[in-house]
Symmetry: C2
């Protein structure tokens, strides 16, 4: 397979359709640790191609995350690489995956040596494969797929419609991020017009958390504190509290938005005691002038300017004092 | 003024424009405890009418909630009733207010005896005033106003554009509720096309809360409870706690999403003790089979199927027992 950078030639959506047309069995792959745009795009294209008469196999190193399970109503699309039947595949479509590495070696190793069409919206895409549709002005790969489907009158079955809605919604923070353009909104209007059950699908996607998450939030808020003239907010959570609640990985996901959202806050952080005794620091910046990857770097961690983390081998209370001290210098 | 139920005659948006045309000074009133749709609609219409050459006064029993302050960039729109200059007002526009009572006695008492146009999207609207535009198929009063403005080529200055976006966004839970139709999405696309800074306005609207909000959340979570096999979630907050925190109108906005978002929950509610001693019930449904406007109707309140409220003159603990009992029957 043609999986090296800059190997792909740009094609129009009409040309892509002509490449797909003669193939009777097509594999779709997307990036590992798939998010809403990856899973949504994969299922949407799969259902649309299947309705067009193709046999379709979806493949991913990792399973569908629990919060997106509701989309996977069709049993025909097998995602796990160990169960996928890739015999007879004539074409591979690589969706929403900027780098060859992120396709996942274990999934790639199962693919036959056939042509690859890469479809993506990441400006950093390595342009691997044979044919390329790259549109960085699209908020999501789902937005590109909607245009391919509607411009070429491909079928838009219920699953495609709903999966495209989820793909676009999750990649734009429910249409709240700067990547959501008038075209993005307009495509969502067309999907809703085609019958998306807005309340149901959003409720499934965004309002489906465990009661443990609320219990963790209650516990976190016990230690909530605002310091440095309201510029720093934080909370901590002990291992004992997590144990009592029965916390599972992912339960804390998104809770920091509450700290981050406070007016006037420039930096916020969570200190989470782990079962090993180390303390996990997660930090967010709301201010271009404060680089939290530097603060976390001080503790042997790293990340990006606006989001970073570290693991610190100190008791929780000592950690807190040190993180506050290092943060103070960065303000 | 013609403030009795069923006094208003339905008019088209074109007829409404002809009623507005000869007036040089217009007052706009909306419901007390104004939310995003109330404030957004009020400021949007005010800015549009002002750009059309009218003098405009906005009046409300309560001030603009802090989280919507960012919209109030124009100093010309005085909202508090005690400072509003209503001399010479020739017409009153009542926006987004279903009942005469919710206009607020203290605000209404200042209005001159002039014709009233009522514009609303609540199906329960009492049809007070002289002229009525009532469209319950619109997700927000802001959605009706956008149509009036665009159909009649009224000016859409920046403030109107942004305020309509906020009105529609807040009344649809960021386009996630069942009231958001393809038309709603399409209008948002047109507003974005007209220049809305999507990231900025959403950050201001949803990620700019006061520290009081976090303190109120901490307090609410002390009474957090899940009942009826996990189908009902609620919390309560006393007047004493609100007082200590220094709670202001609007501080509780959006917190109920945490209750609503729990997997398996069909109905959630908040009971908020007010300074008058009455308890404010706010209720949300996640299930088409549970109509919370009926539950709230039992307590003399109302609203929509998925979001409703009531004011109950009972001690907090008695309220809780009664609301749980009525809710149980509705499950």
């Amino acid at each position: 397979m043609n999986l090296s950078p800059k190997s792909a030639t740009a094609v129009s959506s009409r040309q892509a359709i002509e490449i797909l047309r003669p193939c009777s069995k097509i594999a779709i792959i997307t990036h590992y640790r798939p998010d809403g745009d990856a899973i949504g795009s994969m299922l949407a294209l799969a259902a649309s191609l299947q309705e067009w008469g193709k046999e379709v196999v979806c493949i991913n190193r990792d399973p569908v995350p629990a919060y997106l399970d509701f989309l996977q109503t069709e049993q025909t699309f097998v995602c796990a690489p160990d169960t996928a039947d890739l015999n007879g595949v004539e074409l591979v479509v690589a969706l929403d995956c900027a780098t060859i590495e992120r396709l996942g070696d274990s999934a790639v190793s199962l693919l036959p040596d056939v042509p690859v069409i890469t479809i993506d919206h990441h400006i950093t895409n390595e342009e691997y494969g044979d044919h390329l549709i790259l549109d960085a002005t699209s908020a999501a790969t789902g937005e590109i797929l909607y245009q391919i489907i509607s411009e070429n009158n491909l079928p838009l079955p219920t699953l495609s419609r709903d999966a495209l809605y989820v793909a676009i919604s999750t990649d734009t923070g429910s249409l709240q991020y700067s990547n959501a353009t008038a075209r993005t909104y307009s495509i969502m209007a067309q999907l809703v017009d085609a019958g998306v059950d807005v309340a149901h699908i959003n409720s499934q996607t965004y309002f489906n958390h465990s009661v443990r998450k609320v219990e963790l939030l209650r516990e976190c808020l016990q230690s909530f504190s605002l310091s440095h003239d309201g510029q720093v907010s934080h909370w901590t959570i002990s291992q004992a509290a997590q144990s009592e609640i029965g916390a599972q990985p992912g339960d804390m996901e998104g809770l920091m938005d509450i700290l981050r959202g406070i007016s006037g806050v420039r930096v916020c952080f969570t200190l989470e005691e782990s079962s090993s005794g180390a303390v996990r620091l997660s930090m967010r910046s709301k201010d271009d002038l404060v680089d939290v990857s530097k603060i976390c770097g001080h503790f042997g961690g790293g990340g990006h300017r606006m989001a970073a983390g570290a693991a610190i081998n100190l008791p929780l209370e000592d950690c807190l004092q040190q993180v506050l001290a290092v943060t103070e210098k960065a303000l």
